[in-house]
C-alpha cells in the first residue's frame, strides 16, 4: 500500500504542488491527471524516490521511505518518459539487460516469449535504433510483464502506443492489480478498469 502525506514539491522558485495526501491500496491504481506543467512527472518521480519532496512523507507498506530507499527500489517498477533503451543494442539484448538490472533473471526463452507476447518477436534481433517509438514502448511493457514488482509507477505509458499496444498495457495493469499490486499512472487514456479499482488525482 502506498501512502503520501502532505507532499509538496518545488522546482526552482515555483511551487508545483503542495498538501497532497492520498492512499493507494493493493489492487488499486491512482490515475494522475492535470495540464502540462502541473507537476505530474515530478510527483511520480518523487513517489519513485528519485527526488525528495520539499515537504511531506511517503510510506510504502507503512514504512517511511526516503529517496532511493532500498526497500522501495526492490518493490518498484518505474517507467519514465524515455524508454530506457540503448540504440546500439538489439531489442532482445535491451530487454535482457533491463530485466537483469531490475534484479530479475530471465533465460533466452523467457525473453523471446515476452517479446513475442508484445508483437516484437520478429524484430527482436534488430537494434533499438530502427524501432519505432511505439515498438520501443512495447519493450518496456515486456519488461513489466517479466519482472514481478509490487508497485508500478508509469509516466504517460500510453504515449506512442497504438490501439493494440494500449490494450496490451490495460491488460497488463489489470492483471497486476488483480494480483494485489499497486499502480500509479499519469495518463489521459482510459485504462478500461472497473471504477472501484481506480482513484483519481487531478493536479490543479
Amino acid at each position: 500500500m502506498l501512502e503520501a502525506q502532505n507532499l509538496a514539491a518545488r522546482r526552482g522558485c515555483s511551487q508545483l504542488f503542495s498538501g497532497l495526501s492520498f492512499r493507494v491500496a493493493a489492487g488499486e491504481v491512482l490515475v494522475v491527471t492535470g495540464a502540462n506543467g502541473t507537476g505530474k512527472t515530478t510527483l511520480l518521480r518523487t513517489l519513485a524516490g528519485l527526488t525528495a519532496p520539499s515537504e511531506g512523507e511517503i510510506r510504502w507498506n507503512g514504512k517511511l521511505q526516503l529517496p532511493f530507499a532500498p526497500e522501495l527500489r526492490r518493490a518498484l517498477a518505474f517507467a519514465g518518459h524515455a524508454p530506457a533503451l540503448k540504440d546500439e543494442l538489439t531489442a532482445e539484448e535491451n530487454l535482457s539487460l533491463l530485466v537483469e538490472l531490475a534484479g530479475g533473471r530471465a533465460g533466452r526463452a523467457s525473453i523471446r516469449a515476452a517479446l513475442d507476447a508484445v508483437a516484437l518477436g520478429r524484430r527482436r534481433a534488430l537494434p533499438a535504433r530502427v524501432l519505432s517509438q511505439g515498438q520501443r514502448r512495447r519493450i518496456g511493457l515486456a519488461k513489466l510483464r517479466l519482472i514481478e514488482r509490487r508497485l508500478w509507477i508509469l509516466d504517460e505509458p500510453v504515449t506512442a502506443l497504438d490501439a493494440a499496444g494500449a490494450a496490451l498495457l490495460a491488460n497488463l495493469v489489470a492483471v497486476h492489480l488483480a494480483g494485489g499490486g499497486v499502480a500509479v499512472a499519469a495518463t489521459h487514456a482510459p485504462l478500461g478498469l472497473p471504477e472501484e479499482r481506480m482513484r483519481a488525482l487531478a493536479l490543479p
Binding site: R11, G12, C13, Q15, A52
Partner: protein, 247 residues
C-alpha cells in the same frame, strides 16, 4: 554558542542573529588588523637577511592559513548539509567560498610580491605557492559548479560533494607538490621559508591571522544574509522584513 543550536538552524531564525553579529566581527577585524599591522610594520625589527621587504609576510602567511582553513570549514558545512539535509549549512558553505578564493588570491599575489625583491623572481614554482595555486583552482571549481547548476538544492549537494572530495585531496596534492619540488630542486632551502621567527614576529602574524578570521566571519555572515533573502524569498517572514518592505 553551546545553547540551543537548533533554534538557529532555520534560515529565518539565523538571519537576524547574523545581522547582530556582523558589526561585532567587523569591528574586531578592524581593530585586530590595525594592531597586527602596527606590530608587523612598525614594532617588529627589520629582518637581518631580507630587509624590510619581508614584512609582507604579515599579510601573506595569515592569508595562506585562512585560505586552507576556510576550505576545511566549507567542506565541513557541506558535509553537514549532505548528512542532515539542512539548507542553512549549505548556505553557509556557499557564503564561504568567495572569501576563501579571495584569501588564496591575496596569498598568491603577496607571495609573488615577496619573491621579487627577495629572490629576483615573481614566481618560482616552489611547493607552497604551487599548492596555493591549485587550491585557488579548487575554490574556483566550487564557485563555477554553484553557478552552473540552476536548481539551488542540487547545487548545494553537488558543491558539498565536490568540496568534500577536494578536502580529502588537499593534503594529497600538497604532499605531491612538495615531493615534486624537492625532486627537481634538490634539498635546497625552500624559497618561501619564513625568516627565523622572533616572538614578536610570530605574534604579529597571529594577530593578523585573527583579524583575517574575524573579517572572514563578518563577510560570510553578511553574504549569507543576502543568500538567505534570495533563496527564501517565497517565505512570509521575508516579506515582513523592514529592509524588504518598500512601503
Amino acid at each position: 554558542m553551546a545553547f540551543n543550536w537548533y533554534k538557529y538552524a532555520s534560515p529565518a531564525a539565523f538571519y537576524p542573529l547574523a545581522g547582530r553579529l556582523v558589526p561585532w566581527f567587523s569591528w574586531a577585524a578592524a581593530i585586530l588588523a590595525v594592531l597586527g599591522l602596527a606590530v608587523g610594520l612598525g614594532i617588529a625589527p627589520t629582518d637581518f637577511q631580507q630587509g624590510d621587504a619581508y614584512r609582507i609576510i604579515y599579510i601573506h602567511v595569515p592569508a595562506a592559513w585562512m585560505s586552507m582553513f576556510i576550505y576545511l570549514v566549507m567542506a565541513f558545512w557541506g558535509a553537514l548539509a549532505l548528512g542532515f539535509n539542512t539548507r542553512l549549512s549549505a548556505m553557509l558553505a556557499q557564503s564561504l567560498a568567495p572569501t576563501g578564493a579571495l584569501m588564496t588570491f591575496i596569498a598568491l599575489w603577496t607571495g609573488a610580491l615577496w619573491g621579487r625583491p627577495t629572490w629576483g623572481t615573481y614566481w618560482a614554482w616552489d611547493a607552497r605557492m604551487t599548492s596555493e595555486l591549485i587550491l585557488l583552482f579548487l575554490y574556483l571549481g566550487v564557485i563555477a559548479l554553484r553557478n552552473a547548476v540552476e536548481d539551488p538544492r542540487r547545487a548545494d549537494r553537488a558543491c558539498s560533494v565536490l568540496s568534500l572530495v577536494g578536502a580529502v585531496n588537499v593534503p594529497i596534492i600538497y604532499f605531491s607538490v612538495q615531493w615534486w619540488n624537492t625532486l627537481h630542486q634538490g634539498a635546497s632551502v625552500s624559497l618561501t621559508a619564513a625568516p627565523r621567527m622572533a616572538t614578536i614576529m610570530l605574534s604579529g602574524m597571529l594577530i593578523m591571522a585573527l583579524a583575517a578570521w574575524c573579517y572572514t566571519i563578518a563577510v560570510s555572515l553578511h553574504r549569507v544574509r543576502s543568500i538567505i533573502l534570495e533563496r527564501e524569498r517565497g517565505g512570509a517572514w521575508v516579506g515582513a522584513l523592514p529592509e524588504v518592505c518598500s512601503g
